[in-house]
């Protein structure tokens, strides 16, 4: 077992943990939004939420696994940590950017449809 194989195992562990954690969080916190969109139909919102979660897992894990192909040869522990940091960091950073973009889109939709009204607390009607 050389450093590359060790690095692959660590990389997969880290990215899978992050992806599953983020997916669970999205699953729990996206439910109210879906409920709002589908007019309070709990069964339908739940089903759609689960399908979306499966799609999220497939796309993210698929990409994270494909990226394994292009690693360079690692010969020392220090190099392994370098490569591991850059690769896992890229995946986590990408997830973060996509997540913030999603939140921005949801906020825009919510403002358009009137779910999200940002008002000053002192000016209550």
């Amino acid at each position: 077992m050389n450093y590359n194989v060790l690095a692959y195992c660590l990389y997969l562990l880290i990215t899978l943990f992050v992806i599953v954690y983020v997916g669970n969080m999205l699953f729990r916190n996206g439910c109210p939004f879906l409920l709002n969109t589908f007019g309070g139909n709990v069964q339908l919102a739940d089903a759609i939420n689960r399908i979306l979660l499966a799609g999220y897992y497939l796309i993210n894990i698929g990409y994270a696994v494909i990226v394994l192909k292009v690693w360079k040869q690692v010969v020392s522990l220090q190099e392994m940590l370098d490569v591991l940091g850059s690769k896992a960091g890229a995946i986590i950073l990408g997830l973060g950017i996509i997540h913030m973009f999603n939140v921005a889109v949801l906020a825009a939709i919510g403002r358009k449809k009137g779910y999200l009204i940002l008002t000053n607390k002192n000016q209550q009607p």
Binding site: N2, I48, R50, I51, A54, L58, I66, K69
Partner: protein, 144 residues
Amino acid sequence: MNYIVSAYSLYLAIAVALTIWVARTLHTNSKVLLVEIFHGENELAVSVNKLLQVGFYLISIGCAIIRLEIRPGWQFDEVTRANILQEINSVQSMIEVLSYKLGSFILILGLMLFVNFFLLLMLRSGSKPRAPRVIQQPVARPAL
């Protein structure tokens, strides 16, 4: 048993398990949507759901088997500064080849899932009850 054969068996096992998981997720969760699409006709929804599931299985597993073959690829070698055939003779090269195969198959599965899902959503919005159509009576021609 060399590395390519073990890569094949790992690939097939993981791909088939993933296909079954995705198909079951779709099957259990699309029933609600299908019942709504068919206006509460449960039997029709169940049978269409079953047909969709079988189609999903056939396409996904067919795709997985077609993409099974692993050919040695060309890779740039830094030492000799030339392209050399990448042979699969270690655990590391097996993981690299296997990860590319499996990752692209997982992405294809995700695409299939979303295609199925958007199809259902489109059908749902198309099957909403509409206002009854007003048939226009032909206007009688004024007599000349």
